[in-house]
């Protein structure tokens, strides 16, 4: 890599700001993604990030900070999904799908009838190279809050993700922890929005956690690996967008996808190549069920799905 080009790229103020915003968003998203992937709430990240669209548009219309509208709609969507799921017999993925597409569509309509100051593509795909001072302050403050809560409550969040029945049994308020997690999701989406936009925020909320999951079998290590990978991808992605003159958000997410691919192929415990080698050698020790990114699990106490019994005992 040409070092001069790196120093040149990050010599510009706008590049430094872009990097700052993207790094902050990457760290918070990556931390949260670990729990989302483990619970099976990836779709929830998808839903919340899309559902904030009308909130952002309305914020512009009323001259409010975009974070206010986005947060309100994010939380609103979560509450609505919960209500639909608990009061009907629909599975969670259907409840999520119905709510977020409707809210998102409402946002699209709002954009279409709004005078031109709202640039849909900036909301959808981010505008990290053009962030204002106000935006930066918002991202830093909200990012710091989300980061602090995630780190301080990490053990409760892990217990909630692993066994909310047990949390309930020992008298911890499992429902409240779930609500906090969803609130943090809305907050994190607001942070990510500025960096990568609505559509690609989903990737930042899934890929780093999924990658880290392939690389370790301890959540404590996942919580270090995921943000580290995400920061590296932010730096490489932003720099590449300068070097190639291409979309920065897209490149950051492509980098995350590449990191996932590398982990998928070369993970010391679960990598494809490793498993392939093990199979050829006649061993079948460490295979595990493939990670399911779409499994949506109930949010209520007591709705614990049995895990798939697909451990690698297939004889060659």
């Amino acid at each position: 890599m040409n070092l001069d080009l790196v120093t040149e790229a990050f010599g510009f103020a706008f590049m430094q700001r872009a990097l700052l915003v993207t790094v902050v968003a990457s760290i918070v998203c990556a931390l949260l993604s670990c729990w989302l992937v483990l619970i099976g709430w990836s779709l929830m990240g998808d839903a919340v990030s899309h559902a904030v669209l009308p909130g952002v548009v309305l914020s512009y219309l009323f001259g409010l900070p975009f974070a206010v509208g986005a947060f309100v709609f994010g939380i609103g969507a979560v509450a609505l999904i919960g209500t639909v799921r608990e009061t009907t017999r629909l599975k969670e993925d259907a409840a999520i799908g119905v709510v977020f597409t409707t809210v998102f569509a409402f946002g699209v309509v709002l954009v279409s009838v709004t005078p031109s100051q709202v640039d849909l593509s900036h909301i959808l795909f981010g505008n990290v190279l053009g962030v204002s001072d106000v935006d930066i302050v918002q991202v830093l403050v909200l990012g710091a809050v989300a980061f602090a809560v995630l780190v301080l409550l990490r053990r409760d969040l892990t217990l909630y993700s692993f066994d909310r029945v047990h949390a309930h049994v020992i008298g911890l308020r499992a429902r409240r922890t779930g609500a906090i997690l969803l609130g943090l999701l809305a907050l994190t989406v607001v942070v990510a929005l500025q960096a990568v936009g609505v559509v690609l925020a989903v990737a930042m909320l899934i890929t780093p956690g999924a990658t880290a999951f392939l690389l370790t079998d301890r959540i404590s290590r996942m919580l270090l690996i995921a943000p580290t990978i995400a920061v590296a991808c932010a730096v490489v992605g932003i720099w590449a967008s300068y070097a190639l003159d291409a979309a920065s958000a897209g490149l950051v997410v492509v980098c995350q996808g590449l990191a996932f691919t590398l982990a998928y192929l070369f993970s010391p415990t679960q990598g494809l190549l490793r498993r392939h080698g093990a199979l050829r050698a006649g061993g079948r020790g460490r295979q595990r069920a493939p990670l399911s990114l779409t499994a949506a699990e109930g949010t209520g106490v007591g709705s614990v799905l049995p895990s798939a019994e697909t451990d690698g005992t297939r004889a060659p």
């Binding site: 409550l153 409760d156 217990l159 047990h166 309930h168 049994v169 020992i170 959540i219 069920a289």
Partner: protein, 250 residues
């Protein structure tokens, strides 16, 4: 003496399925009580209702003379569910899981102290899993995982233990180990309610038993409850409620 667990007139429905109908039972302090019944007879439902995991239509539950919420808030109720509920892919070790039994004793950040680590060690030792403390939870056999969850309840220092089929899929040696741990706990004054399909070993472990088939068919000293007539009644009545779900043979 106040019973450790008292259930009066408990009725639970899952929509159209009546799972428990006017169930009464009591477990005294320092007593092990067996819960016997065919698949779908409502054993798991009884545990879930006592723990407030499913809404009840009627009846009330008291734990240690107070409300179940109160007992739970003090960590006095330990629960070992039927194992297939655990997420085997979850990236935590055996020791991590057992430590979760002590979260209610820690501060809000759940930072373990020396006493917590010592309790985890002691609990793992008691169920003979010390060597596996660092293993990821999925890389265990079903019986070992069951013992991990028992160790978690031990580390919790619960006074009332609810065990849902702790011997299903457990070999004879483990079953003997678990039984002897349970006997020690009972001797220390803990109360145990355990469901089982293993009628052969039940009299050794539980002096009293309850025969369940949506309602309580019989209760009393285990030998008197497990009579051929009673068992024919409990297991010959056909499936209670709707079709049973896939839990039996493993």
């Amino acid at each position: 003496m106040t019973p450790a667990l008292q259930v009066r007139g408990l009725t639970v429905r899952y929509r159209e399925v009546l799972a428990l109908d006017d169930v009464h039972l009591a477990v005294a302090p320092g007593e092990a009580c067996g819960l016997v019944g065919m698949n779908g007879s409502g054993k798991s439902t009884l545990f879930r209702a006592v723990l407030g995991l499913v809404p009840t239509s009627r009846g009330d539950v008291e734990v240690l003379g107070g409300s179940p919420q109160h007992a739970r808030a003090r960590g006095e109720v330990g629960y070992v569910p039927q194992t297939d509920d655990v997420d085997r892919d979850f990236p935590v070790s055996v020791a991590d899981v057992v430590l979760m039994g002590r979260y209610h004793l820690m501060g809000w950040r759940r930072r373990p102290r020396a006493a917590d680590h010592a309790a985890v060690e002691a609990a793992l030792d008691r169920v003979r899993l010390t060597e596996l403390a660092g293993r990821q939870i999925g890389r265990l056999s079903g019986g070992q995982r069951q013992r991990v969850l028992l160790a978690r309840a031990l580390a919790q220092q619960a006074r009332v233990l609810l065990l849902d089929e702790p011997f299903t899929g457990v070999d004879a040696a483990s079953e003997a180990a678990v039984s002897s741990v349970l006997r020690e706990l009972v001797a220390d004054g803990c109360s145990v309610l355990l469901s089982t399909h293993d009628l052969a070993t039940l009299p050794d472990l539980c002096e009293r038993s309850v025969l369940l088939h949506r309602r309580v068919l019989a209760e009393g000293p285990t030998a008197q409850v497990l009579t051929p007539e009673n068992l024919a009644l409990a297991f010959g009545l056909g499936t209670p409620g709707s079709a049973r779900r896939g839990t039996g043979a493993r």
